[in-house]
Amino acid sequence: MLMQRVGLRFCVGMLVGALAAGCYPGGIETVSQTDLVATFFQKGVDFTANKTFDMPDSIVDIGVAAGASSTLNHKYDTQILAKIQAGLVALGYTRVDATATRPDVIVVVSGITVDNYSAWVGYPWWGYWGWWGGWPAGYGAGSTWYYPWSPVVVTGYTSGSLFINMIDPDLATPQPNQAFSIWAAAINGMLEGTDAEILARINTNIDQVFAQSPYLRTQ
C-alpha cells in the first residue's frame, strides 16, 4: 500500500514536470527572429542640405581591430551595397564619383566576424578605408571617428553584424582629422544563416534601416 502511494506520488510529480515543461512557450525559432536594427543620428543636423553621396565598393571587416583574422564572407557585398544605394536614392540622394565630384556625404559599410565587438568606439578606420580614393582633402592616416551620439550606443553586437556609417566631411569636428558620422545603422547578426535567409534578410533589414530613419530624406 505504501509502495502504491509512493509510486502514485512519483507519477504525479513526473506528470506535473512533463506538463510544465511541455506547456512552456517556445522562444526564438528562426535566425531572422534575432535580427535587430538600430539607427543613430546627430540631432540638429540638416539632412536636407545633403543631396549627393558616394561609397566605397566593398564591405570591410572592422573586427580585425579586435585581434581576429578576417573571415568576413564577401559573397553578399554586391547585393548589400546595391540595396543600401537603392535606399539612399529612394530618399532623394544622387550618387556621384567622389574622385571627380566632392559628395555631400560619404557612406561606408563594415561588418564583424567576432562577438561583442564595440563598433562605435574609435577603431582605426583609416586602416580600413584608406585605400579608397574618394576621401576629401584633410582625411588621412591618423583620422579617427567622431560619433556625436556617443556614449548612447549599443556595443554588444554578434558575429555577422553589419554597420553603415554616413560621414559629412563639411561639418566641423571637436578635434582635427575626425570623420563626423551624422547617421549610422547597425544590423545585428545579419550575415549569419543560410544563403536564402541572408538574402531575404538583406532586403527586409536594410529596408527597415531606412524606414526607421525618415529624417534622412533630402526634402
Binding site: 502511494r5 507519477c11 506538463l19 510544465a20 535580427d35 538600430a38 548612447v152
Partner: protein, 151 residues
Amino acid sequence: MRVWIAAAATLLVPAVVAGQGRGKWFGMNWSMAAPIEHTKDFTNDYSFRGMGLEWRQFSGNKSFGFNAGWNVLNEEKSGTQTFQQAAINGDQFRYNNTVSLLLSAHVYGGGGSGKALGSRAGVRVLRAHARGLPERGVLRPGALQLRVLGR
C-alpha cells in the same frame, strides 16, 4: 494594479485523486488565463498554459488545504522603439509567469451530492501580497468542473 481573471476549466484527473474516503483529497487541474489591464498591455494573448495542484484535509464537513498554481502568458511582438537620437527595431519575446500559493478552507453542504462552499487565502509569490479568493461551486471528484476564480 494588475488584475487577473483566471477562468479555470478545472479537470480533476481521476488517476491522481488520492486518499478519497480517508480524509484526504488531492487534485490536479489545468487552468487557462485571460490577461486584462496592464497585464494585457504586456502580454495580450489568451493563455492555455497553466496548471495547479490542490490538497485538502477533511474534518467533518470542513476541509483545509493548500493550492499551488502556475500560469504563463506570452507574446512575440515586433516593433520599433524610438529614442532621442536612436531607434531600435526587433522582435520582443514577452513572458509573464504567475505562481499562486493559496491556503484553502472549505465548508461542504448538501450531504453526498458534493456541494461545496469555500474560500481561500494565500500569497501570490510574484506580487508579494495576500488576498482572498472566494469560491463557490459543485465538487465532484473525477468530473470536469468549471469554476470562475477572481484573483
